[in-house]
Subunit: 127 residues, 2 copies
Amino acid sequence: MTPVTDLRKTVESFWAAAEARDWAAFAKTLADDVVYTLPQTRERIRGKETYVRFNREYPGDWHARIERIVAEPGQVVSWVRVTVGPEETHAVSFFTGDERGLISGVVDFWPEPYEPPAGREHLVERY
Amino acid sequence: MTPVTDLRKTVESFWAAAEARDWAAFAKTLADDVVYTLPQTRERIRGKETYVRFNREYPGDWHARIERIVAEPGQVVSWVRVTVGPEETHAVSFFTGDERGLISGVVDFWPEPYEPPAGREHLVERY
């Protein structure tokens, strides 16, 4: 049982539980003193109970699908595609773990689509 | 010499070379057929020469500072703080490596600040 496997599996359980709206299973992936940070809005949530509630109350019929996970001991990053109806957005989450393999920190980024700046059309293709 | 160390070091060299505007050193971190993808604008760049040029021509007196790196064999994620004058933005980059430890793929996200949605003030603090 290696730490890298543990936290990767914990993050996979985190997303599976969120997708299933299984908030008991979701809570089991979290340390009691988990800290959630959103640098784009400069928001922070402290503690498992509040963080579970934030996710449970999150509006919309959203669905999350893991695109990529990168893991090392104590740190995991997930890139998730989140769909709400026909709209798809990306979420990138940096997880840190405690010594028990539970999630003690999450830093989330929600990058939005934007128009490419002019002047680089000669270098890029669109897809 | 393990692959995980190699690609992490390559990514560190990538950012150090970019910050130093040392485009010869920057090019040395890249596979010839590197593919660069920006999901937010749906732009793609193919090939080392074009990708180096894209970075070399990128406007503004930008500076990049690594905030966090997460690495496993063949995959690395960097979270970088990019400043242009007083403005700071985040860049999250997913790197994939080839068998020589060179960067063969980069997927970049540039998350922008936004105002938090109303209705969750009872759960979050601002910082």
